[in-house]
């Protein structure tokens, strides 16, 4: 198709995001109260309710929410939407379980990263290094999946090449993250959240218009695929999958470090409470809405999967192309591209913080070496740029089925951090032995199980990882030496 009309909305949006990030960075230079590191990596703890909610949602909602997930819904039916609904708990779990304690403790410690908090609680550099390694590895995996998903979508809808799409939004995302830091990311996340909602609205209009209205679309689906109207989808959506998805994208999402870092960044408890309510409203609308579009597209895209390139990742791009004129298609793809770059920017700044603050600066401080703020600022931007460049290069050759890659990374991060964080904040007996065993052992068990395809009772390997991590946390903590009282004071009073 090679339509400039399809390209223009994306370019306009990305330009806007870049300007917003630069402006946010200029303002943050004036507003920085706690120094560069705090400002660059957590926005000097200044996020209000709206930006807090939107940045959490945009970080969590990724291209798999907009492309992979709805693609599966096209194949499975309303059971996939029912499963996606579990995500309405994401924000209140994060804010309710960790939100207050992380804010209190991090201010007490002067901590600006999740690893800062973990290192202090468990008094272990080895654990901090392991946490940084886990974060960087799984973040890189997720970022690649996001870039690939966005570029594939771009190629499919606009007719321009995958590489061109990757260059346009990939380079923009890396630039605005490097320049804008956390505050720039948070502001652009808010813009991306709005773009996602707009994209969903436009595509909904397209699908329903093409399908002859909602009633007609639903009747078509019910006639062609009656199993899609049942929760088990004729065996395609087993109970076990519902259970493991509850764990993966519901219960344990509060432990994702890229989300947890946002609990260090809000300005007051009023902002947190407001973000919890409004964020749940917006996230539910987004996740239920976009996944439903996948099902509804089955009323318009009625051919077998082979007709659409043999991958469910092609369904939403095809729906956009089939149901919308070129200029509106360009508007519709802004949504999933926004989802992609908002996730990438959040992961990129978090990965950068792990390298700069948790590894490099900590090493310098441990040896009593002072580092000028100018050097820290320059290095932070260079490292953010560097990590982004590596991810960009690795994305040039795309892997398949984005949502599976995303779920792999989700499971790994949740396994690594859930018991470490819960133990840090709520169990005095948790110590560095338990935490180290939990993180390393749990992730190892999870990765090995994934690699060899081992499952228990047919359940996703998250069950293995989480269980092993929990057992190791408890056994290791009870076997190891209790943590000093003075170390526990900031965490328990």
């Amino acid at each position: 198709m090679n339509s400039i009309a399809g390209l223009l909305p994306v370019i306009v949006f990305l330009g806007f995001a870049l300007v917003a990030a630069v402006v946010a960075r200029q303002r943050s230079k004036r507003a920085a109260r706690e120094g560069f590191v705090s400002e660059y990596f957590i926005g000097s703890r200044g996020l209000g309710a709206f930006v807090l909610a939107m940045t959490t949602i945009a970080t969590y909602g990724s291209v798999s929410s907009f492309v992979g997930g709805p693609g599966q819904a096209w194949s499975i039916g309303w059971g996939w939407v029912y499963m996606a609904t579990v995500q309405v708990t994401t924000l209140f779990l994060l804010y309710g379980i960790l939100g207050k304690k992380m804010a209190i403790v991090s201010r007490r410690l002067g901590a600006v990263t999740v690893i800062d908090v973990i290192r202090q609680r468990y008094q272990s550099n080895a654990l901090a290094i392991a946490a940084a390694a886990v974060m960087i590895t799984f973040f890189a995996t997720t970022m690649i999946a996001q870039f690939v998903g966005g570029a594939k979508l771009f190629e499919y809808v606009t007719g321009y090449s995958y590489t061109l799409g990757l260059c346009i939004f990939g380079i923009t995302a890396i630039l605005f993250t490097s320049i804008g830091g956390f505050r720039g990311v948070a502001v652009t996340d808010a813009l991306c959240g709005i773009a996602m909602l707009l994209g969903i609205g436009v595509l909904a209009w397209g699908i329903l218009s093409s399908g002859g209205g909602y009633a007609n679309v639903m009747d078509t689906i019910a006639t062609n695929h009656p199993e899609m109207m049942e929760p088990l989808s004729g065996g395609n959506m087993p109970i076990g999958l519902y259970f493991t998805q509850w764990l993966l994208v519901g219960v344990f999402t509060f432990a994702l470090p890229q989300s947890v870092v946002r609990t260090l960044a809000y300005k007051d408890t009023k902002a947190l409470h407001s973000a919890m309510v409004w964020g749940t409203v917006i996230l539910g609308a987004m996740m239920i809405g976009v996944t439903s579009l996948g099902v509804l597209s089955a009323g318009v895209l009625t051919e077998p999967l082979e007709a659409y390139g043999g991958s469910v990742d092609n369904i939403i791009p095809q729906a956009i192309v089939s149901t919308l004129p070129p200029w509106l298609a360009g508007v519709a793809i802004v949504g999933p591209i926004a989802a992609s770059i908002s996730t990438v920017s959040s992961l990129l700044i978090a990965a950068s913080s792990a390298v700069v603050k948790d590894l490099w600066l900590h090493e310098k401080e441990a040896h009593g070496a002072a580092v000028s703020e100018t050097l820290v600022a320059r290095s932070s931007q260079i490292i953010t740029l560097g990590i982004g460049a590596v991810v960009f290069v690795l994305s040039l050759v795309p892997p398949d089925v984005i949502w599976r890659i995303n779920m792999f990374a989700f499971g790994g991060l949740e396994t690594a951090f859930v018991w470490v964080l819960l133990g840090a904040l709520f169990w005095k007996r948790a110590n560095k032995t338990g935490a180290l065993l939990s993180m390393v052992g749990g992730v190892a068990a999870y990765c090995v199980a994934m690699a060899v395809g081992f499952r228990i009772a047919g359940l996703h390997q998250i069950t293995i990882g989480i269980t092993v991590a929990l057992v190791l946390m408890v056994v290791g903590s009870l076997a190891g030496k209790p943590t000093e009282e003075r170390t526990l004071e900031p965490f328990f009073g």
């Binding site: 209140f92 960790l98 002067g110 202090q120 929760p231 007051d268 009073g493």
Partner: protein, 144 residues
């Protein structure tokens, strides 16, 4: 220290950590279920705020459990009924929109009846203990 629109004039008490925190002026306790809404000032002291955060975390877990139950009841629970709402099976409407509305209601309930507003700006940073130093303190304590 940031101001809270709900706060009335405050008295201040020095905490054991040397930080100065607003003292809670009043609280309402519902006799039936011990749900507490803390008005101006919130819990006092550093430990008080940590304890409040723990209570809120527990309430959140309970809210999750309730949401799961509702999700099951309104989805799987209604799947056997051959009822449609505007061409949509009832279980889809209940399991998705119904669960979403319940989650929102839960958030509002937590905000209004369980979660407390309190100051974060007055928390005195004590800084981070270098890990090596903590190890030496450990070793010294063992040989005392």
């Amino acid at each position: 220290m940031s101001t809270n629109g709900k706060q009335e004039s405050q008295s201040k008490a020095a905490t054991s950590e040397g930080a100065v925190a607003p003292v809670s002026r009043h609280a309402e306790v519902s006799a039936g279920n011990a749900v507490r809404r803390v008005a101006s000032g919130g819990p006092s002291g550093y430990k008080g705020r940590l304890d409040q955060a723990t209570r809120e975390a527990k309430a959140t877990v309970a809210a999750l459990a309730a949401t799961v139950v509702v999700w099951i009841a309104l989805g799987f629970g209604l799947a056997g009924l051959d009822v449609q709402v505007f061409h949509t099976p009832l279980w889809v409407v209940g399991g998705t929109l119904g669960t979403w509305v319940f989650a929102i209601a839960v958030c509002v309930f937590l905000e209004k009846s369980v979660f407390a507003e309190f100051d974060l700006d007055d928390i005195t940073p004590v800084g981070q203990v270098p890990v090596q130093e903590a190890v030496r303190h450990d070793q010294e304590a063992r040989y005392e």
